[in-house]
């Protein structure tokens, strides 16, 4: 009798666990789509194609800059190996470390190309506990960056490295979101439109067959094409960046922000792991469009820090931001589909150049400038756009609390530190044209001059939007740009 009861109890327990798992799976199916469908599928397709690979000889690790910037199929032709690009958007160095170990556990890796990314290395400012101010945290511990390991692990098969990546994915307060993926999307719990969309997407033959081919119109109505040719690389034939979209949020200030010790520690572990295993490792950085590079502060400082770090391991860092302008086959902004990511033209230029430089540095040495400051100095006076950061100033009333749309500090990014500016703001429609173009008149009286707190620097409420017109004067040269904000 007692044995019978125990068996019943055990069966009931197993059934309960199975029911709970089934519920979690259903909820995951309904809710887990990370933002835009193409973004979610980056991960899904990447890991699907990863598990289909024969032996991977060369692994590329990094962020979305590399994701769009290095095509492994071009590398295949150049080096005769099987190359795979396992760079993901905002990929943290701890993720790169565990992914390296994961790949190495089932492949005979011979070479690793590791991106040195300022974006994922410097500490970030996040709200402090009582949300009265900001504090620095390692990139790994900024909740905004938890999505990287969450998304990667969601599409990985069970393994020890996947488990380790999950354990370090997020701070303990987010444990349930780490364990149950649908919890990350609870803001959509009652959003029937999103639920219908997600279910429709997941039932579509394209999704189920891992077909990835989107045609996306940008804000100017220009159709761009994004597809997944395989091996982790994403193809974007991309619209050329328009002037009015040259506005970026500052990712890192390499002049003042500290380098995150934990992220740097994982970089060390990657290098040490490769060196211990006899895997050749090369360090490099890909360029971004100049508005982003200028927003980082003294970019040469970052290059110097990386070179010093690499030298501890007898390595070199090759930063392709230093490629001289005359080497480029196109104007720089035509090689990007946004301020940080290369389009197909950029990828086709940089992929072979990266490989050649990493394996025969002498052959490309003449293509590099000594510093980013030198590159800027050799250019004509030029405005690249605006960058901003959210700030709190004690001496100014905060329109809606610093995290509810407080002050936003805008800065002009240009090639000349001594440029002086006249900055005016107005409604977007005041450009005299319909949305889709801003090259016309500014609408005269609708624009007003903005007070600058330093040359090229000004404050506007974070919730405000419109059009900024910047006119820069440097000697006899006058340059201007209009940017949506």
């Amino acid at each position: 009798m007692k044995t019978k009861e125990r068996i019943r109890g055990l069966v009931a327990f197993v059934c309960s666990v199975a029911a709970f798992i089934a519920i979690v799976c259903i909820l995951n199916y309904i809710y887990v789509v990370n933002g835009e469908p193409w973004y979610d599928q980056w991960y899904r397709n990447l890991y699907h194609s990863y598990y289909e690979q024969d032996n991977i000889d060369c692994l590329v690790l990094g962020t979305s800059h590399v994701h769009f910037g290095i095509d492994p199929q071009i590398l295949d032709e150049l080096n005769g190996m099987n190359n795979f690009n396992m760079a993901n958007p905002g990929q943290r160095y701890d993720d790169s470390y565990y992914l390296l170990r994961e790949v190495d556990s089932s492949h005979d890796l011979k070479e690793v190309l590791l991106e040195c990314s300022y974006q994922c290395l410097y500490e970030e400012l996040v709200p402090n506990e009582d949300r009265s101010d900001y504090k620095y945290v390692d990139y790994i511990h900024d909740p905004a960056n938890y999505s990287s390991p969450w998304m990667i692990t969601y599409h990985m098969r069970p393994s020890v490295n996947r488990f380790k990546m999950l354990v370090t994915a997020a701070d303990k307060e987010y444990a349930l979101a780490t364990i149950f993926p649908f919890v990350r999307y609870r803001e959509n719990l009652f959003d029937m439109e999103t639920i219908k969309y997600n279910i429709g997407l997941k039932r579509s033959p394209e999704y189920r067959n891992y077909n990835y081919d989107y045609t996306v119109p940008d804000s100017h109505g220009i159709t761009t094409h994004i597809s997944y040719p395989g091996k982790g690389y994403y193809y974007y034939d991309g619209a050329i960046l328009e002037d009015d979209e040259k506005l970026v949020k500052q990712n890192a200030d390499v002049t003042t922000d500290p380098i995150g010790e934990e992220s740097l520690g994982y970089m060390r572990r990657i290098i040490e792991y490769c060196q211990a295993k006899g895997i050749k490792i090369s360090l490099f950085s890909l360029p971004v469009y100049d508005v982003e590079t200028v927003s980082c502060g003294d970019y040469d400082r970052f290059i110097a820090a990386m070179r010093e770090f690499a030298s501890e391991y007898g390595l070199e860092v090759y930063d392709f931001t230093l490629i001289k302008d005359e080497t480029l086959p196109l104007p720089k902004d035509e090689m990007f589909w946004d301020h940080a990511h290369m389009n197909r033209a950029g990828c086709e230029f940089y992929t072979p150049l990266v490989w050649q430089t990493l394996h025969d540095p002498g052959s490309t040495a003449s293509l590099f400038a000594d510093s980013y400051a030198q590159i800027l100095a050799e250019r004509e006076p030029e405005i690249y756009g605006l960058w901003y950061r959210d700030v709190s100033y004690d001496d100014r009333p905060d329109p809606a609390g610093i995290f509810g749309g407080g002050w936003r500090e805008y800065n002009v990014a240009s090639s000349r530190p001594d440029m002086t500016y006249v900055i005016r703001k107005g409604p977007y429609e005041a450009s005299g044209e319909e949305p889709g173009g801003v090259s016309g008149q500014t609408g005269g009286d609708l624009f007003e001059e903005v007070e600058q707190i330093a040359p090229g620097r000004f404050l506007l409420p974070a919730g405000e939007y419109g059009l900024i017109e910047v006119t820069g004067t440097c000697g006899d040269d006058i340059v201007s740009m209009k940017v949506k904000y």
Binding site: C15, E173, Y174, V183
Partner: protein, 487 residues
């Protein structure tokens, strides 16, 4: 360390596993270590205070046991009570009293006594002080023995499930259980985990969701019309019940997994037909503490009707003060006494007129509704925190009252979406159904574990899913402290 924090969800399994691994005779030592670690997560320095309160009453009890001299026994009792209450008064009430004294001094003598007005209240001080004093008085009365094992006694005072918000345990119940080695029982483990699950349901699904609405209105009552304040105060009346009952339930479940049975703190209070009945169902460990150690020593109902109601007024005013160092809490407590006076008056008149109190379902429901409304009104005072706020709230309540907001969707402006309103409604239906069972049977746990296996399994999976899907938790949410921690 909050029960609804991930720290506790890591801490608890470790404590439980080690508890059953270590030999039975050492388990209480492990629990003592775990309890002090638990307490020190708030402020390590205040563990000294906990230790001090423990040491004073431990030594006091030993002296009381050893000596038969009435004088020495009285001196010992009074000294220990004064020291323990001294700690409590300093940390909890000195700021309030010095504030009043300085106000008077500044008017009369144009001077003030310097005082640190930023004293941080040690969490749970009101609970463990009362528990220690209850033990001491019991020893004095000869109702219990003096515990000779200091570590075991220290565990009785600091037992982590009930340390910071009760139930305020009696030595007759808890100390005796701690003295017996606890054997592993799968039944206790199963029952304890389920009880904890239901406690989490009350806390993170109901109380913390209602807190959004309540906090929105009470944060700035001057901007909200009267109907919103009424809605918020009703929500608060339910929130505080689910919050405190949720805590007590998690505490009971936690203790039960280790084979220790804590007292039940609530017994369907919102089905009470009178305020006096409500107080026999609400925060039972405190109510019975006041009954045994204040009301009865004051004379209880043995010295005539006037003294009885005077004693009730005293007990409830002190109870209000126990809840918080503010005049509004004293008024809230006194109001409970006033309600009972009125009830007695009504009962007297009814008796004189020869009217009998109905015992049908309608009568019961009406009685429960009236009692709930009275309790709700008193909670407006409780939640207002200060007399200034209270004035504002009363002005708003009677100044701008539009019942239409209940039906035009305006309530959704209070931070809870329509979807979550449904989630709350379903949760409240379940919660009240469980309370009905408790009201009828007195033992909802016993009732539940007699149900068929499939019912229990479905309940567990449902509660777990409901908590994970709809609960308020995690880094993106402002994890609410348990309301009673502040007392």
């Amino acid at each position: 360390m909050l029960f609804n924090s991930i720290d506790f969800l890591i801490f608890f399994p470790i404590v439980l596993i080690v508890f059953y691994i270590v030999p039975e005779r050492f388990r209480y030592i492990w629990l003592l270590i775990a309890s002090y670690y638990f307490y020190m997560q708030w402020n390590p320095a205040y563990a000294l205070l906990l230790f001090g309160a423990t040491a004073v009453t431990y030594v006091g009890a030993l002296i009381l046991e050893k000596t038969s001299s009435v004088r020495i026994r009285k001196i010992t009792l009074v000294t220990a009570i004064v020291i323990d209450l001294g700690f409590l008064c300093y940390f909890k009430y000195s700021v309030m009293f010095m504030g009043y004294i300085n106000k008077i001094l500044s008017i009369t003598a144009h001077r003030q006594i310097p005082w640190d007005m930023n004293i941080v209240l040690p969490v749970g001080i009101s609970f463990f002080t009362f528990q220690a004093l209850g033990y001491l008085i019991d020893v004095y009365r000869g109702d219990t023995y003096a515990e000779h094992n200091f570590l075991r006694y220290a565990l009785f005072i600091s037992f982590f499930p009930q340390l910071v918000a009760g139930p305020i345990e009696r030595s007759r119940n808890l100390l005796k259980q701690l003295a017996k080695p606890q054997k592993f029982s799968f039944e206790n483990l199963k029952k304890g985990l389920f009880v904890m699950l239901y406690g989490f349901f009350m806390k993170v699904v109901i109380a913390d969701r209602l807190a959004i609405l309540v906090d929105t209105v009470f944060a700035d009552p001057v901007t909200w019309p009267g109907m919103y304040i009424l809605v918020a105060s009703t929500a608060f009346t339910i929130q505080i019940y689910c919050d405190f009952y949720g805590y007590s339930t998690i505490a009971r479940g936690t203790a039960l997994t280790m084979g220790i049975e804590l007292m039940d703190n609530f017994n369907a209070p919102y089905f009470a037909r009178t305020i006096s009945e409500l107080w026999r169902r609400w925060h039972l460990s405190l109510s019975t503490w006041f009954r045994d150690y204040l009301y009865i020593p004051l004379g209880g109902n043995r010295k005539g009707t006037f003294r009885k109601y005077l004693n009730i007024m005293i007990v409830f005013a002190v109870s209000g003060l126990w809840h918080g160092a503010s005049l509004s809490f004293v008024i809230w407590g006194a109001l409970q006494g006033v309600f009972q006076l009125i009830e007695a008056g009504v009962a007297f008149i009814r008796k004189k007129l020869g009217l009998r109190r109905g015992d049908g379902i309608i009568s019961r429901i009406l009685g429960a509704i009236v009692t709930f409304i009275l309790f709700d009104i008193s909670f407006i005072i409780f939640r207002s925190n200060s007399l200034t706020n209270l004035r504002v709230i009363i002005d708003r309540l009677f100044g701008d009252f539009d019942a239409g907001v209940l039906f035009d969707g305006s309530v959704l402006n209070l931070g809870i979406s329509a979807g979550y309103m449904w989630v709350l409604l379903i949760a409240l239906i379940i919660f009240y159904a469980v309370d009905v069972i408790k009201y009828k049977t007195g033992d909802v746990r016993g009732w539940f574990f007699k149900r068929p296996l499939w019912f229990k399994c479905v309940s567990v999976v449902f509660l777990l899913t409901y908590i994970i899907v709809f609960g308020r938790y995690g880094g993106t949410y402002d994890v609410k402290q348990f309301i009673y921690f502040q007392f």
